[in-house]
């Protein structure tokens, strides 16, 4: 049950600086913990996050075991044209999730 929460302004003026907020559901298991019987719990984290604005990559981040569960990533960009933001999270154990949001630039 993976789910994402995205916060992108619906409207913005051309040239305006906008904040984009993303929250992805993920346990971010570090790989450093052990079970009660001493076995290592395998690492299971998101390793990369990327955002494309009308197909052009505008933000990318690598994630590591020290990042908390359910990573909350926010960043700023300049609203240039109406269109779509595509978000992509990739991680261990074949984890791959996408989400998108639209914006109207006036």
């Amino acid at each position: 049950m993976a789910s994402a929460l995205i916060n992108v302004p619906k409207r913005a003026k051309a040239g305006e600086i906008i904040e984009i907020k993303t929250l992805m559901s993920h346990i971010m298991e570090t790989g450093y913990r052990r079970t009660a019987t001493g076995e290592v719990i395998p690492r299971d984290i998101i390793t990369s996050f990327a955002c494309r604005y009308n197909g052009v990559e505008i933000f990318r981040a690598d994630l590591f075991p020290a990042i908390a569960a359910n990573p909350f990533i926010t960043f700023f960009t300049v609203a240039t044209e109406s269109g779509k933001f595509d978000f992509e999270w990739i991680g261990d154990e074949g984890f791959s999730e996408t989400a998108s949001a639209s914006i109207t630039v006036e």
């Binding site: 049950m1 789910s3 929460l5 995205i6 916060n7 907020k21 929250l23 559901s25 346990i27 971010m28 908390a68 569960a69 359910n70 909350f72």
Partner: protein
């Protein structure tokens, strides 16, 4: 000499009675007010509050068919925004068939087994937490009303007795911290007043969302006592007492706590 001892004893009793008093209505504070502004804004903004991820999952489960009946929660209850509004503010509630109070998690599982003919969800499983959070979120902002039913009086008294009961190797009652010392700190963290206004809630320490019973079990283990099993009547009675004690305070589910 004897008279003096009696006076000392009387003073001790008076001092103890004063300390064990419940928090006056006007001084009640949600755990929210003890948090830093950063954690508060995390709770206040739905796209930053990780508890909302469970709400999303819960909504999907609410609309998904389950069990031999082939029915979804929504097939009987309709839109949760209308039908579940205010429900969590009344729980734990008295169940006529069982003759004892049940909490929201148990109500959902009873509904699953009786009406959906589905297997009950395990306590503290992602699914049960998600459904409970989704249902409780419909009461966000509404005042807690738990305990109005006169049939609950006996169980509230039992919960209160457990709250006041010293237990464990540390020989501490819940009241020793949460009634007597809520304005102080323990190992750097605020001791709060134990008003369960935001459960199920996202705890940064847990890196996850959890139920009130998980919190209670953590506290009981903390005083080095043997924790009750999930769903135990004692925990439900304690939940019931705490919710009735918080009557009138607004529901915050899903709350964020440190």
């Amino acid at each position: 000499m004897r008279a003096r001892a009696t006076i000392v004893a009387a003073l001790l009793v008076a001092a103890f009675a004063a300390r064990a008093a419940e928090i006056p209505q006007a001084e009640r504070r949600s755990g929210f007010s003890f948090m830093t502004s950063d954690t508060q804004s995390m709770q206040n903004e739905d796209t930053a509050n990780p508890g909302m991820l469970w709400v999303l999952d819960g909504e999907a489960l609410w609309n998904g068919k389950a069990g031999a009946s082939g029915k979804a929660c929504a097939d009987c209850h309709g839109d949760a925004r209308a039908s579940m509004k205010g429900v969590a503010a009344r729980y734990p509630a008295f169940d006529q068939a069982l003759g004892r109070p049940v909490n929201l998690e148990q109500r959902i599982d009873l509904c699953r087994s009786q009406h959906q003919q589905a297997t009950p969800l395990a306590y503290e499983s992602r699914e049960l937490l998600a459904l409970t959070t989704f249902v409780a979120q419909q009461s966000r902002g509404l005042a807690i009303e738990t305990g109005a039913d006169p049939q609950l009086a006996l169980f509230i008294d039992r919960g209160r007795a457990l709250f006041m009961q010293r237990q464990g190797q540390f020989n501490l009652a819940c009241a020793n911290c949460h009634d007597d010392n809520w304005d102080k700190r323990l190992a750097g963290s605020a001791i709060t007043q134990a008003h369960p206004t935001g459960y199920p809630e996202y705890r940064l320490e847990w890196q996850s969302l959890g139920s009130l019973q998980r919190r209670l079990r953590g506290c009981i283990t903390g005083v080095r006592a043997q924790a009750y099993d999930y769903g135990a009547p004692e925990l439900v009675e304690l939940e019931l007492y705490l919710m009735s004690r918080a009557r009138g305070m607004p529901i915050e589910t899903p709350a964020v706590r440190p």
